[in-house]
Symmetry: C2
Subunit: 215 residues, 2 copies
Amino acid sequence: MALAIGDAHTPLTKMVKDALRERILNAEFEPGTRLVEGRISEEMGVSRMPVREALRELAAEGLVKIIPRRGATVSMPAADQKMDLIEVRATLEALNARLAARRKDPERIEELQRVLAAGESDIEKSDFSEMRAHNDAFHTALGEVSGNVTLQDLIRTLRDQTAMLFKQDDPVKVRETWREHADILRAVIAGDEELAAILASRHVYNAVEPEQATD
Amino acid sequence: MALAIGDAHTPLTKMVKDALRERILNAEFEPGTRLVEGRISEEMGVSRMPVREALRELAAEGLVKIIPRRGATVSMPAADQKMDLIEVRATLEALNARLAARRKDPERIEELQRVLAAGESDIEKSDFSEMRAHNDAFHTALGEVSGNVTLQDLIRTLRDQTAMLFKQDDPVKVRETWREHADILRAVIAGDEELAAILASRHVYNAVEPEQATD
DNA sequence: CCTATTTTTTTGGTATACCAAATATGACGA
DNA sequence: TCGTCATATTTGGTATACCAAAAAAATAGG
């Protein structure tokens, strides 16, 4: 009993969450499986509270579905929701780019250029983990150029929700990705709202839709 | 001690939340005021748990800001965030209408027409509370026509966040609102994505910006 | 074999109580 | 007066324990 990974001092909620997430992603728990609080808490040797919390958070991430009075079940993310997510995210990223092109705050733009350069140098070094960080940084910075905090929050949430569904770091694709970043930034600097919006939207579809669509 | 409104059997969390919300909206608590869990729970005669929960929910609504290890403070929504919210909501409502016009599920459309008729009859009867319910129903139904659940969720959240900031039921405006609903529905039925999107977007600006909105 | 009823599980919601870590506050000495 | 250290508060996180309402499972009846 008790969690296999007994890192004292990391919140139990997080441990429970990670454990569940892994099992879900490993298909150890198939979609539709009921996740009974009591059972999990017993199995992991924690009280129900951190389990509840973990389930809630997983629900926010989209891995679990909670129906009132029915409890939590493993939800099959991908498939049906996948296109929905992409559609929404593309739309918001487009709005974001449009606003960025409209406001184009000089300082933030500089920051963007810095991140862009960093990302491009990561490609040379094939440093994927740095690249991922810079990718996030680029999108974050772009969000800051637009200046719309609400929008940023939503996009971040959507990014979290799609993150694990479509993650992959194909060397070819990565190069493509940063080329697109450069294009978007160029459009933003030029103040071409329409172009920036279109490029940003397309960027989402490209990054997220590998080759073989599961749907 | 204890909540003034002692409705047994309504969750304490909700009572706490409502009480806090009211005081915040009444400016009894000014923006920036610290909301100390212990103090509130004592004052209202409940334990800290429902207070925490209430604060979290209020944070989700945007009335309160929670900074890690710093606790909750009253945030001043409106002003700066207002346009952000509207911008995002308008964009998403536009996407929603666009998708609705694309898929136009016959059954849902019927539902929409029913709600539209109900809303229009509310106008005759000047039944504002019914009207508000039908207004929600209309938007919900429109969301269902589009078929994008993710989108629906986001829009609902945004609607919640804007609800109390811009609420008003002016008899004249109300008539306008339902005329716009009719226009949107017409565009959806006609399958005119572009028009539906534009009308839906404008609808948000109109409903939310008392004077007028020509963006 | 299917349905109605009873029993057992679960979920939600809450109280109470600790504790460690982080923050706020106040007193103190430079 | 100012920076620093000690002390008091708070927040987060968790355990444990109840309870009512709702759902699921088991059982009785037709």
